[in-house]
């Protein structure tokens, strides 16, 4: 991460703009135990109260870290029932990083966010259809499979 990802200008700008970044050793106590860290790098996205909403384990290239962090921001809003804000982050992720590894989950979460904000089942079925079309072998296509019946 230090050699490739963090020195990347886009990454640095994104983190500076959107987060308070904290770096601690993997064995720093009590934090490492509190967050059940077992491997490095472990990246945790948390809200301003320190509550975890998203994590990744392992190296991420710049073109994967930014969409992963966008997904983390979306999850914070989603978990706080702020669905419009969640959708804004998810749309940005899918527009700017459509082929990232975070995209299938973003499509799924976008469908659920739309459903929760509109109570219409249509976005869930659309999420399933898009996942089947673009990411048919992803775990998120499997998780969305029941929505084909809606």
């Amino acid at each position: 991460m230090d050699a490739v990802t963090y020195p990347n200008g886009k990454v640095a700008e994104f983190i500076e703009k959107n987060f308070i970044p904290l770096r601690v050793r993997f064995d720093a106590q009590p934090l490492a135990s509190d967050f059940k860290v077992t491997w490095t790098p472990t990246l945790v996205t948390g809200d301003a109260n320190g509550q975890e909403h998203h994590r990744t384990v392992g190296f991420l290239a710049p073109e994967e870290l930014i969409p992963s962090l966008l997904l983390g921001l979306a999850k914070i809003h989603f978990d706080q029932n702020q669905f419009e804000a969640a959708l804004s982050q998810l749309e940005k992720l899918l527009a700017d990083y459509p082929k990232s590894d975070s995209s299938p989950e973003a499509i799924y979460l976008r469908g659920v966010s739309w459903y929760k904000s509109t109570h219409s089942a249509k976005p869930l079925k659309e999420a399933y259809e898009q996942l089947q079309k673009v990411y048919p072998s992803s775990e998120w296509a499997k998780r969305a499979a029941p929505y084909r019946l809606l």
Partner: protein, 32 residues
């Protein structure tokens, strides 16, 4: 290197997060 500055203390990072209304990004790393 990165242009941003890492916080190194949990309490200080949380205080900044609340004051600036931003989420936190925690990197648990192995210094090698």
């Amino acid at each position: 290197m990165a242009k941003f500055k890492w916080e190194t203390e949990w309490k200080e990072a949380l205080a900044r997060a609340r004051a600036e209304k931003k989420p936190v990004l925690i990197d648990f790393f192995n210094p090698g």
